[in-house]
């Protein structure tokens, strides 16, 4: 994937991410419509491909208003990934073609890779994750399960042990996929399914779209490194 193709693919996917997020604010809380209508309008412009650099700069400036409004990201890690993608994209489009531009976009790819690896590493050093107890706690009393029925999964320790180790091993092994194009495609497909499962079980829908939008960066980085 060429750098220009990857940048444009990221612009399109990021515009869809921001449109989805903006819709949730605009239609749910009238008081937040005023804040998110400009983001929706700018996202439509980004989607159309008209003057991407001024649009990205405007979206970046607007993101500061949103961060101040909620005293941080509204939706934790998913909003952080969306904004990181926006800032890397903006910087890449601002810099002249060459290694600086590649560095800005490559930083996003490295962060995608780290997002999986660090998540796996902090879990695997925790005895509660290795025994399956941590995931049991998530289902038993955390705020995440989307329905009361899902809490019954806390009573299935063997299944949760298997799920815990599957997640940890996948997250830890993710960087290895960078060494082969087919492995990376397979790893990204599994990762997307993982985010989809998190959306269904824990209601983390914004993570699906935010991470998908960052995938072109890692596909480009692999192409760039392996030739």
């Amino acid at each position: 994937m060429s750098l220009e193709t990857a940048l444009r693919a990221t612009e399109v996917l990021l515009a869809l991410v921001f449109l989805q997020q903006s819709a949730e604010h605009i239609f749910h809380r009238r008081g937040e419509a005023l804040l998110f209508a400009p983001r929706a309008a700018l996202s439509l412009l980004l989607l159309s491909g008209i003057a991407p650099l001024p649009v990205l700069l405007a979206l970046s400036a607007h993101s500061l208003l949103v961060l101040h409004r909620f005293s941080g990201p509204y939706n934790g890690g998913s909003d952080r990934m969306g904004l990181l993608t926006l800032y890397c994209l903006t910087l890449a489009q601002t810099l002249p073609p060459g290694s600086a531009r590649e560095g800005a976009f490559g930083y996003l790819a490295v962060q995608v890779l780290l997002s999986y690896f660090i998540s796996g590493q902090v879990k695997v050093i925790n005895p509660d994750w290795r025994s399956g107890r941590a995931l049991q706690d998530v289902f038993a009393f955390s705020a995440y399960p989307v329905s009361e029925d899902l809490r019954s999964l806390a009573a299935r320790p063997r299944l949760l042990w298997l799920m815990s180790w599957s997640v940890m091993l996948f997250e830890l092994a993710f960087p290895v996929a960078l060494f082969h194009p087919t492995a990376l495609i397979a790893a990204l497909a599994v990762a997307a399914l993982f985010h989809l499962a998190n959306a269904c079980l824990f209601g983390l829908n914004r993570f699906v779209w935010a991470w998908l939008a960052a995938y072109p960066s890692i596909l480009w980085l692999q192409d760039r490194l392996l030739g």
């Binding site: 989805q20 819709a23 949730e24 604010h25 239609f27 749910h28 809380r29 008081g31 500061l64 961060l67 101040h68 909620f70 005293s71 941080g72 990201p73 509204y74 939706n75 934790g76 890690g77 952080r80 990934m81 904004l83 990181l84 800032y87 962060q111 780290l114 997002s115 660090i118 998540s119 902090v122 879990k123 925790n126 509660d128 941590a134 706690d137 998530v138 038993a140 009393f141 955390s142 705020a143 399960p145 989307v146 329905s147 009361e148 029925d149 989809l196 959306a199 269904c200 209601g203 829908n205 914004r206 699906v208």
Partner: protein, 133 residues
């Protein structure tokens, strides 16, 4: 400027430590304060069951659930250090979901649950059921 930097830096250098440990989990409860013992109700209780079709729909639009997750963040911030911002956010969203009752006085509290049971860690000051002008 310093505040902006403190908001942007964690975006530029994220920690990615998702679910590192499973801490006690907050629930927001609210009640009318009208002389009798308050009857605490959970704010936005989760449904008993979600169908696959509902889960699929929520993939594209899940405003109420994401608002509930934002309130979890506010509750965790209050537990760490109560701030006017987090308290106001919770009050505002409780008020927005209630029918208009101009004379009522409300209160919210934060219960933190873990496998040993639950603890009351915060109780707000009473606040009027109509938003400030």
């Amino acid at each position: 400027m310093r505040k902006t930097l403190s908001l942007v830096l964690p975006v530029l250098i994220p920690s990615w430590q998702f679910f590192k440990t499973i801490e006690p989990s907050p629930r927001v409860q609210w009640a009318r304060i009208d002389g009798d013992a308050p009857r605490w109700q959970e704010f936005r209780p989760r449904p008993q069951r979600l169908s696959p079709a509902q889960m699929l729909r929520r993939l594209f639009y899940s405003a109420a659930w994401n608002e509930a997750l934002f309130l979890v963040s506010c509750a965790e911030r209050i537990e760490a250090e109560p701030t006017a911002h987090s308290i106001t956010e919770i009050q505002r969203r409780i008020l927005a979901t209630l029918p208009h009752t101009p004379d009522a006085t409300l209160q919210f509290r934060l219960i933190f649950i873990d496998h040993n049971g639950q603890d009351l860690l915060y109780r707000s000051a009473p606040f009027p059921a109509h938003p400030a002008p």
